[in-house]
Symmetry: C2
Subunit: 85 residues, 2 copies
């Protein structure tokens, strides 16, 4: 019997990789009058449902999807998070 | 004395809002030979450091930043997550 599992994949630029979106956010803080914010990094979050026999099989599918489609392993790191169903 | 707090802001399209990036991921699954994946939603994840007196003040800054700069409240929902320092 198959079950639905819900996951999130967080994709962020690796340390040392230029992050122009993060710099753009930092550049906007002054206009908003917000102080004390630093080290902004902007990435992607993908949430998805996997239908599989068990959680291990579902996680293997998400891992493949993250490595082959959602993240560019040269410049991005990804982390997988199990979400409540 | 000020302390550094680390947060993530997850921004995702609201339910019912068209998500073309999610549809693009779903359309690529067949080419990769990945089955059983559905309900893909693509959003952003922003990680940042806030220097503040206490966690409540830091969280208030993140909430303002999320609502005024990182998310479009008409079409996107955001959630704030405290990260380990």
């Amino acid at each position: 019997m198959s079950t639905d599992f819900r996951f999130a994949v967080n994709v962020l630029p690796k340390a040392g990789i230029l992050d122009p979106q993060g710099r753009a956010v930092e550049g906007s803080l002054g206009h908003l009058g917000i102080a004390g914010v630093s080290a902004v990094r902007v990435g992607r979050r993908v949430e998805l449902t996997v239908t599989a026999e068990d959680e291990a099989a579902a996680r293997a599918t998400v891992e493949r999807l993250a490595a082959e489609l959602l993240a560019n392993p040269l410049i991005e790191a990804h982390a997988i998070e199990a979400l409540p169903r």
